[in-house]
């Protein structure tokens, strides 16, 4: 180590900024070499068991952890009408008592090994994920098999969890109203389509659910032929193959085939849903239309275009609303891409008396983006950002368990990840123009949700479109 000798005295506090440090000419990094733009997909083994269970093994031995990711096709899409939250409660209950263990014994077995094992419903699947120390891989698989094959759905656990989930939604209304925007928004945008379902359910729909609803749902929708299991990390593949065969081999197939999911239709014109939160210090804003699916063929161009609009700190929306106007702490946009087209949504928030101004600026920014497109510098910048950040999503065995599970679920090739870098490099201005025209909605065609103090902001919003108002405290996400 160098000796810590003092080179210079302290800097005075006199008015001027900066010290006498010479400025260097800004460094321009070399473009990454062609062989460095792609993420390398690790060697993996794919097996389909006789009962239809798909098993993907990704061994890696640098850290003594083993991760798994199990996807069970179906999910909240299959919630019966009016019974939002059925899949979510079913998933919750998988880890609250299974096999020979009651809820406490199950949690004790997981936590006693220092593991984690969590189940949750998503729109299109129920997902069970976890990570254990490597020497507990057999225990991990036993607990997982109990959870998905032998959940107990104990009545007392059902009552407690249902009540707790209801209270948690209420608490989110008090503490994280922005977390609920998507529930209101999707209910409006996808009305009549399964994507309208609030995955968590609402206070009202959860209150309607019975234990029999949840048990029946899981019995009908669970099956080995709907499941994908990825195991990644520090394990012996031969041993895990044997363990999975022994533990999951008797899992029957699902009793019915899954119905195909219709593609939702885009909305035309603007509608506003104002969710009244009296006294709210700021207004939370979400605006959306139907976007594109996971199989959208211009995905690299889509990634570039959305990154430039609202996918990073330096994106257009954040520059306009935060950096230039000081209206918000955050403004962003994203596509949710599923089996069929999910939503493209812009979200932000601002202080109550600036609500109309922020909404207008977001719409103007979207209009400018649609009209002007992206110049070569913006495309390059967004592309480089994506190339640089992409490897960070594929660092750990757990990351790969998630990524390879997704690929298999959506029936995408490994090149979807492994060649994404080259595809980004090959993306040209024409395809980006095509994406901006085709995948991003017009600012005139949006469903807009605002959670804020209606008495203070309603009048200022009337110019944007017809407004429906409902109270934030209502126990559901759609107006009566």
């Amino acid at each position: 180590m160098l000796a810590a000798t003092i080179l210079a005295g302290g800097v005075g506090g006199s008015g001027g900024a900066g010290t006498a440090v010479p400025a260097h000419a800004t460094v321009t990094p070399a473009a990454p070499a062609a062989n460095h733009v792609n993420v390398k997909v690790p060697a993996n083994e794919r097996i389909t068991l006789p009962n239809g269970l798909r098993l993907i093994l990704v061994p890696r031995h640098d850290i003594p952890l083993v991760a798994f990711n199990l996807l069970l096709r179906g999910g909240a899409l299959l919630d019966p009408p009016g019974h939002d939250g059925t899949a979510a409660l079913a998933a919750d209950l998988l880890t609250h008592g299974a096999g020979s263990r009651d809820a406490f014994a199950f949690a004790d077995a997981v936590e006693g090994a220092g593991g984690n094992l969590d189940a949750a419903a998503r729109a299109e699947f129920i997902q069970v994920q976890g990570q254990f120390l490597a020497h507990d891989s057999r225990l991990m698989l036993e607990l997982l098999a109990d959870a998905v094959l032998r959940p107990r759905f104990d009545a007392d656990e059902f009552d407690k969890l249902r009540e707790r989930r209801i209270e948690e939604i209420k608490a989110a209304r008090d503490s994280q109203p922005q977390a609920l925007l998507g529930n209101y928004g999707r209910a409006l945008l996808f009305a009549g389509h399964p994507y309208a379902d609030a995955v968590s359910g609402s206070e009202a729909s959860l209150a309607r659910l019975t234990r029999a609803d949840v048990t029946r749902f899981y019995a009908a929708q669970s099956g080995a032929d709907r499941a994908i299991l990825v195991v990644a990390g520090d394990f012996d593949p031969a041993q895990v193959r044997r363990d999975v065969g022994a533990l999951f081999g008797a899992w029957p197939r699902a009793s019915t085939p899954l119905a195909p999911l219709p593609a939702p239709a885009r909305v035309h014109g603007r509608r506003l849903l104002l969710v009244d939160s009296p006294g709210s210090a700021q207004t939370y804003i979400w605006m959306a239309n139907v976007g594109v699916s996971r199989h959208y063929d211009l995905r690299p161009a889509l990634a570039v275009a959305n990154l430039a609009l609202g996918g990073s700190f330096g994106s257009l929306l954040n520059r306009e609303l935060r950096q230039k106007a000081g209206l918000t702490y955050d403004a962003s946009s994203r596509f949710t891409r599923g089996l069929v087209a999910g939503e493209f949504a812009i979200s932000t928030f601002t202080q109550t008396d600036k609500s109309a101004q922020a909404l207008q600026l977001a719409l103007t920014t979207l209009a400018g983006f649609k009209h002007d497109g992206l110049d070569a510098a913006a495309i390059d910048s967004a592309r480089n950002y994506l190339l640089g950040q992409y490897p960070l999503a594929f660092e750990t065995p757990f990351d790969w368990a998630v990524a390879l599970g997704d690929l298999d679920f959506y029936d995408l090739p490994e090149s979807y990840i492994g060649q994404f870098g080259s595809a980004l490099v090959a993306t040209d201005a024409a395809s980006i123009r095509q994406v901006i025209d085709g995948a991003f909605p017009s600012p005139d065609d949006l469903d807009i949700v605002l959670i804020g103090d209606a008495a203070k902001i309603r009048a200022s919003l009337e110019k944007f479109g017809p407004i429906t108002t409902m109270p934030l405290s209502a126990p559901e996400f759609v107006p009566h």
Binding site: M1, A3, A4, T5, I6, A8, G10, G13, G15, A17, G18, T19, V21, A23, H24, T26, P29, D62, I63, P64, L65, A103, F104, A107, D108, A113, G114, G115, N116, L133, A134, H135, E163, R164, A172, D174, S175, Q176, D276, Q282, G314, R319, Q323, Y329, D330, T350, Q351, S381, N384, Y385, L387, G388, L392, E395, T396, F398, A455, T469, P471, S473
Partner: protein
């Protein structure tokens, strides 16, 4: 934080700022000895330098992915603030992205992003941390830009005014529209009467509105100096290459002035304090806080294990008793801010709508009385040690996690190498140690109880 908005419905408790230090993920490792890879050996490739101007540099090469995480830990947080300038450390976290005398506002982000990097920052009561994640090709650029803003920050008045609004928006998001955070801010300010841990990291509203340019410049020239920084780089780099570049870009920056130590010691509390907050909402909240210990206290591993035993998971003691069995709360959590000085240990609860805070408190007191009388079981301690061990391995499985852990140990514990001896410290903790620290901390006369009572909102909406 500079960016990042929590959208998780389940993350109901804990406040990003008022709850003080970032969640410390480090809970090393009892079972490490039984795994194939030795934990102590994982850090053997780490190298360090201290520049002549006092800058500490720690490099952990890791070639798993072609990326680098750089964390600059600046040794200043809201504990270094005073009346009238609360929130300055956090405001600086924002100002550091707003232009220098050599790079116009927006250039920092534009250059980093267009070269494949992303960045963020966070502020706690103790430290301010700047984070960059980037491809190895951008190493020199990032070091250049990071050193530039340490030396040459600009203070354009109109930029300060805009950023004031952004920070106020962050305060509205995190505190004023969040009941748990609002309560936590009040509990913190009540538990401490003298020590600056009473200050909310995001700042009091009137101070956010009133800082002057001179306040900012004084703060910058005092704290933003190489001798106040610990620079941690983890990832696809070689130490010698990093040291040469750091010398090139940071070497010319002069050492800063000596800074005033935080002299104030919180006087011992001599009786319970209580506060009630009334806010619109549906769920009552309770936070009970006790004066606890500092990060480098030898009892810290025992207190962390106690925290895991009480609220670390569905099998944890308070979750079982108060959520599952008595159903008095929807969620119970606890947390301890590991700081330079002794901070508080808090138990947080969200009650069901209409729930009784008195009933919850009684049940909590009964659980704590049982703990103080009988201690923890061997099974509980073993479970907590395994949880700590696994979460430690998860922590070092990413370059981001490594940069966080190295920085925490280097800055908050005084030496990054303590990270690699921590597993032994946790392994050595006995049930008697846990009971002893529980008795030290859970003293009724050292307690502050905060209750948030929800008021029904008056709905103004009708259908149109």
């Amino acid at each position: 934080m500079r960016t990042g908005v929590g959208f998780g419905v389940l993350a109901l408790l804990g406040s990003a700022l008022s709850g003080a230090t970032q969640p410390v993920a480090v809970r090393p490792a009892a079972a490490a000895a039984t795994t194939a890879v030795s934990f102590a050996a994982t850090g053997q490739s780490i190298q360090t330098r201290t520049l002549a101007n006092g800058l500490q540099v720690i490099v952990w090469p890791d070639h798993n992915i072609p990326s680098v995480a750089l964390f600059n830990w600046v040794h200043v947080g809201s504990r270094n603030e005073g009346t009238g300038t609360t929130g300055l450390a956090h405001f600086f976290e924002h100002m550091m992205f707003n232009g220098t005398t050599t790079h116009a506002r927006g250039e920092f982000d534009r250059l980093i992003e267009s070269n494949g990097g992303s960045n963020n920052a966070f502020t706690s009561q103790d430290v301010t941390v700047y984070q960059d994640w980037f491809p190895r090709s951008a190493l020199e650029l990032v070091l250049q830009l990071e050193s530039d803003r340490l030396a040459n920050l600009a203070f354009a008045p109109q930029v300060v005014e805009k950023e004031r609004e952004v920070v106020y928006s962050e305060r509205r998001l995190r505190v004023e529209d969040s009941n748990p955070s609002f309560l936590a801010e009040q509990v913190q300010a009540t538990a401490f009467v003298a020590h600056p841990y009473r200050i909310p990291t995001i700042g009091w509203p009137s101070d956010i509105k009133a800082w002057t340019l001179a306040d900012l410049q004084n703060f910058y020239h005092t704290w933003y100096a190489p001798n106040q920084c610990t620079l941690v780089l983890v990832g696809d780099v070689e130490p010698e290459q990093v040291f040469a570049l750091v010398e090139k870009y940071y070497g010319p920056i002069p050492r800063g002035p000596a800074t005033a130590a935080v002299r104030t010691v919180e006087p011992e509390q001599s009786g319970e304090r209580r506060l009630v907050v009334e806010r619109s909402g549906q769920n009552p909240l309770v936070q009970v806080a006790w004066h606890a210990i500092s990060a480098d206290d030898p009892r810290a591993p025992a207190l962390n294990l106690l925290q895991t035993i009480l609220t670390g998971g569905d099998a944890a003691r308070l979750h079982r008793a108060l959520v599952e069995e008595r159903k008095l709360a929807v969620a119970v959590d606890s947390g301890w801010s590991e700081g330079f000085d002794p901070n508080i240990y808090s138990i947080y609860a969200t009650l069901p709508e209409g729930g009784s805070s008195e009933a919850f408190e009684q049940a909590l007191n009964a659980e704590l009385a049982k703990l103080l009388a009988s201690g923890v079981t061997a099974a509980e301690l073993s479970r907590a040690k395994h949880q700590v061990a696994a979460s430690f391995w998860r922590g070092v499985s990413t370059i981001d996690g490594k940069a966080r852990l190295l920085g925490e140990y280097a800055v908050m514990h005084g030496d990054y190498r303590k990270l690699f001896t921590a597993p032994d410290a946790y392994e050595r903790v006995t049930a008697a140690d846990v009971l002893a620290v529980a008795r030290d901390v859970f003293k009724p006369e050292h307690r502050t109880v905060g209750v948030l009572l929800p008021r029904a909102a008056t709905a103004t909406g009708g259908e149109h």
